[in-house]
Amino acid sequence: MELMHLLAAEELTVNANPFFPNMTWFTNSMVVTVIVTVLIIIWARQSTQKMELVPKGAQNLFEALVEILYTTFEGVVGKRMIPKVFPLIATLFIFILAANWFGLVPGVGTIGFGKLREGFLSLEEMYQPLLRPVNTDLNMTLGMALFFMLWWVIWTVQEVGVIGFLKHTFEPKGGVKGFLWFALLPLFIFIGVIEFFSIAIRPVSLSFRLFGNIFAGETLLHSMSTLGANLPVPLNWVSLVLFPLPFYFLELLVGVLQAFVFAMLCAVYIKLSTGFEGDGAH
């Protein structure tokens, strides 16, 4: 028997695959979502079971994480809004970070169902991984982005009201009064329409940025793994491990960066629309 072709997962399909054959809506990336959530909850609850005054170990890690996130986002959003928005933004950051890093665990995305060749332990082509990283599914990132936009609308309406939001978007700025205000109004209405459109495109850009980065990283890792598949036998196993190694560290960095960028952009969007109370001479 020959162990020539043991490399699997040449390509990742854009749509996630169903986990059970008859339930097409329950995909393999949803399974990983449930696993990641359960792991985070179990670890967090277990390490804060007995709270000590001087923390050490896992409790220290969680306290440091929450405190760093709180001070960073308070600097962006402002002291008034931070109690309302902190749970959502911190949850988004921690979940996206854990999900991105869980996708790098060996076995996620590489073990699955495929077409067998003859021989022991050899797969010619894999078309359905058993577990698939969470953010490689556009449904997940779109869901997170839309959920954030829903809460953005709710918080904006709570803070400044619908009239205040429309005034802030469409009103001529710069303290003009009288005739000049009316003269500049059509121009600012046009600008307001463009700004409205750019607000409406925010869920698309948030979701596509995260999806594109993680999906491209996963495809890159798969391509790099199967690059040396046609070499003779010891070399193709060595290349399976060695070639994706630098890209693995790149994916670690990209995972942290994309989680941070998602959460920070959410905070910046909230600041842009609610940060104008109490200032302004008009």
Partner: protein, 77 residues
């Protein structure tokens, strides 16, 4: 006459990757400009490193997103 570039791309069999090339060019230049300006700003005022870092990361992520759109289009056609 105006579709010389798409014709060349099709002839060289790199059809779906042409938008990705342009998007990558623009995004790289954009990210490089943001990074250079951030380095310059830290040089002028080293104590503002934290604020500059946050703003630079946001700017780079927004500039890089366009290249990601190009990547998705290239790999889904």
């Amino acid at each position: 006459m105006l579709d010389i570039l798409p014709m060349w791309a099709e002839a060289a069999n790199i059809g779906p990757f042409l938008p990705l090339a342009f998007a990558g060019l623009g995004a790289s230049i954009g990210v490089g400009i943001v990074g250079g300006k951030a380095a310059e700003a830290v040089g002028r005022n080293p104590s503002a490193f934290g604020n500059i870092l946050v703003m630079a990361i946001i700017g780079m992520a927004l500039a890089e997103a366009i290249a990601i759109y190009g990547l998705i289009i290239a790999f889904s056609k």
